[in-house]
Structure formats: C-alpha cells, structure tokens
C-alpha cells in the first residue's frame, strides 16, 4: 500500500501521472515534464514535497547535540530561522542522509530529511542522542505537509495568494525561514536553483496553500521536473549521487563539511582518515546519440568513472550528468561515455550547469 500526501486527490484531479516514489504515490508530471521545468526557470512552479519529513529536536542541549551529529556546524546559525545544509555521517564517514537544519530557538531545531531515509535517520539520531547524553527530545512531525514554490516569480505568486505573510517573509535571505502561524514555516530554500519558498504546514491546511499558489499562477510540477531542475542546479540526489558508500568528499559535498577547529562531530575521524575515492564533477554530452544516465561508464584520462545521475537538460538542450571521476580529473577534460553500444564524447565541467535561469557552462 503506497503512502499518500494530503494533496493526492488534487494531483489526480489535475491529471497527474502518478508513480511509486520510494513507497509514496507521487505525481511525476501533469502532462509535460519539460514544460513544467521551463515554468520553474521562467516564472513559477509548485511541487508537493509532503513526503519529506520534518523532525523536531527539542531540549537545552539541542545545539550541542547537532554540533556532534552533523558534519556541518550549526554554531553558524545565530539568528532564529537561519538554516544550513548538512550530511549525516556514519562511523566510516558514509552519508546516511543529506538534510536541512533550521534553528528556531535555543531549545528547538528542525531537520528536514529525505522521505526514504527518514525512519533510518530517526533511529540513528536516537542512537547518537543516547551516546552524546544531551537528552534531546526527537519528534517526527508526520502531521506536517510541505510544498515548494519555485521560480523567479515564485515569491510574488505566494504573496499574491497569501498577502498577510508578506511582511514576515519579504526580508528573508536564502536559507532563512520565518514562522508565520502556529505551525506554518516559510523558508527561502529549494531544490531547483531558482528563488522561492518551501512552506510547511499542518497536513489539513496544505490544500489551501496549494490551491492558493496555483490560482496565483504557479504551475503544478511533478517529481520529473524536480529531478531535471536539481540536476541542472548541480544538486545531489540521495541514493543516487551519494549514499553510505560515499563520503561527502566523494560526492562533491566538501563545502558542507565544517572542519574548522576541533569539533568532534560523528564520522570526522573516519572522514579525515579516508582516502578520496573520486572527484565528483559534471559532464556535458558533446556527441549526438543518446542521453547520459546513471551507471554509465566514463572513460577518462586517469581511468574509469561512473555517472551517478544523468538526464537531458531542458534548459541547455543537451544531455548532462553528475559523475564520479578518477581523482585528478579536471574541468575541461574530454572523456568518453559508454552509452549502450557506443562511446560518446563528453566534456568535464564544474557544476552547477544552470542557476537562476542562466546557463553556466
């Protein structure tokens, strides 16, 4: 039995093609994935991301606990509402999950984690909590739903629909959130490389949010467009671009690991001792003849690599990919990719491929 979000009936009524996404019955598109993609790059789109899980952590020791549990350092979060992206590492520095941590109060942080990994994350956090002894209370917020309104006109669309939120959310900078109701959080975050908000709210209020932003001009978008948008933006997908078999350094996430000072976060020793397995970079297909896809083999100057995510980029009109390449591979290098029975030429680039509507490669 697939899990459903509170917007399931709305998706079906809108003609969505539904798929099983990690046990969730989710819309992959509402007709054309490419048109949905362009809507987000050019104006505004809205995604149901209610399958993602919010986990509240409460208690006096919560900041110290998260400084121990996360590879990035929540000490950087000084203003209520500020957020950061981090990996959760295991004992060998493999990535258990990637998440966003929000600071609301000195005794209250929230983690927003991936759907498929949520239960495992919570078990893991309980273990670390027992280990660290900060006595943090963990609460899985299964009562919350979430939408993402994304695109250059996304915030305006949201404010047209809910003008009463404007004063509290207009001054938000990227990676900052505001609480605009008892349990409504508006965050200037996303997974598309465009401006916008991710809004979480009680499950029974999410239809009002969805219908409001759609009426204000945001186009319903499925997980298909979400994937091509995030890939163009050079953002990793958990389970594909990284997992417990990869360290953050092998997944292009060194920028999310804070090694300043002697902070003893879990997995640090293993991470510092672990040799780098690969360079994580982008590819742009230069030959005609197919589409780059996960698991295709890359033949580079220094050896073999592997694509972890690949697609056709609607913005660039060419195929692009994220790949694990031999250590020392540099942007600009020409490689060959095994696509079915052919070897096609591709160029190594440094992601992202597209940001704020503009090609970067």
């Amino acid at each position: 039995m697939l899990k459903t979000t509170p917007l399931n009936a709305i998706h079906r009524a809108a003609g969505a093609r539904m798929v099983d996404f990690g046990g969730w019955d989710m819309p992959v598109n509402y007709g054309s994935q490419i048109e949905e993609h362009h809507a987000v790059r050019r104006s505004a789109g809205v995604f149901d991301v209610s399958h993602m899980r919010s986990v509240d952590l409460e208690g006096k020791g919560v900041r110290d606990f998260l400084r121990f549990a996360l590879a990035n350092d929540v000490a950087k979060l000084k203003l209520p509402g500020k957020a950061l992206y981090s990996c959760l590492l295991d004992e060998s520095a493999g990535v258990i999950d990637d998440l966003i941590a929000y600071y609301f109060r000195d005794d209250w942080f929230r983690l927003v984690v991936n759907a498929g990994t949520a239960d495992g994350d919570i078990d893991w956090l309980h273990r670390l909590n027992a280990l660290a002894g900060h006595g943090v209370a963990l609460r899985s917020r299964d009562d919350l739903a979430m939408i993402a309104v994304q695109g250059p006109q996304a915030r305006e669309a949201f404010w047209r629909a809910f003008p009463e939120t404007r004063a509290a959310t207009e001054s938000l900078v990227p990676f900052q959130a505001a609480r605009v109701g008892d349990d409504i959080v508006v965050a200037r975050t996303g997974y598309t490389g465009e401006d916008g908000f991710e809004v979480s709210c009680p499950a029974d209020e999410v239809a009002t949010l969805w219908n409001g932003v759609v009426a204000a001009g945001a186009r319903p978008c499925g997980l298909g467009a979400r994937d091509t948008l995030r890939l163009e933006a050079g953002m990793n997908l958990y389970g594909q671009d990284m997992d417990t078999g990869a360290s953050p350094f092998d997944a292009g996430l060194a920028w999310t690991v804070d090694l300043a000072g002697a902070r003893g976060f879990f997995g640090r020793k293993a991470l510092e001792a672990r040799p780098r397995a690969c360079d994580f970079l982008g590819l742009v297909l230069e030959d005609k003849g197919g589409v780059l896809r996960a698991h295709q083999i890359v033949l580079a100057e220094r050896g073999e690599g592997e694509i972890t995510s690949g697609t056709f980029s609607p913005t660039l009109g060419v195929s692009i990919a994220l790949a694990r390449l031999p250590v020392g591979t540099a942007p600009g290098e020409k490689v060959r990719v095994q696509v079915r029975d052919k070897e096609l030429a591709a160029r190594v680039v440094k992601p992202p491929f597209v940001r704020h509507g503009k090609p970067l490669i």
């Binding site: 093609r17 298909g224 197919g290 697609t311």
Partner: protein, 126 residues
C-alpha cells in the same frame, strides 16, 4: 486509449501501417509515448538493414528513460523519418503521425499476424 482501428500493433507498443507503396511505417503508440514522457532522442535502424520480427532495432529516449524499439515484421529498412532527429517531441504531439522508420516486409501477409487495436488495448492494460 487513442488507437486508430486501421493500424496494427505489437505487445511491445509499436504501431504498423501499410502504405500505398507496399512499405510499412512503424512508430510507437500513444500509450507508449505517454508512459515515456517527453521524448528527447530517437535512433531508428539504419536504412538497408535487414531485421527480424521482434528484433530490437533502435532506441527512443525520454527525459525519464531509454526504451528499445522493436521490428513488428521481418524485412528491410527502407526509410527513416529524419524530422524526428531535430524534433523528437513530435512523437509526444502526434504518435501516429510521427513514424520512425519504414520497412519493406519480407512477407506482407505477416502484417495480418499483428494485434488489432482491441487486442493491443487488452494487452497493454494487463
């Protein structure tokens, strides 16, 4: 399901149409393009190639996935629809207009062995 009754079908989601010159045009069904989503690349079999019925002869790729295309009949490939090279999305817009390649069948009687629209509808609903 949009299934023109004058066409023949395969369980692997191709359609086949007998043309006036005796060749058979082949494409993928409307159901197939809907399942695949936005199509971004088509590789038809090379002109001159001899193909067997049911043989994998080419590829269609959508944003989502790559999918093989099969020959509904034995015969020789005599033409490709070159328009699809630059505009593969035509398959999404008009699956039965956007033929991918044409075959000169080894035996025109083989066409009668393919599924009719009702049989295809039943097969693809399973």
């Amino acid at each position: 399901m949009n299934l023109p009754p004058e066409l023949k079908y395969t369980a692997s989601h191709e359609w086949a149409r007998l043309e006036a010159d005796g060749t058979v045009s082949v494409g993928i069904t409307d159901h197939a393009q809907e399942q695949l989503g936005d199509i971004v690349f088509v590789e038809p079999p090379k002109v001159g190639r001899q193909v067997a019925a049911g043989e994998s002869v080419g590829v269609v790729e959508s944003v989502k996935a790559a999918s093989d295309i099969y020959a509904p009949l034995a015969g020789e490939v005599v033409a490709n629809n070159d328009e699809l090279g630059a505009s593969p999305e035509r398959i999404n817009a008009d699956a039965y207009g956007a033929w991918m390649y044409r075959l000169k069948p080894a035996d025109a009687a083989d066409l009668a062995k393919l599924l009719d629209s009702a049989a295809y509808a039943k097969a693809s609903a399973e």
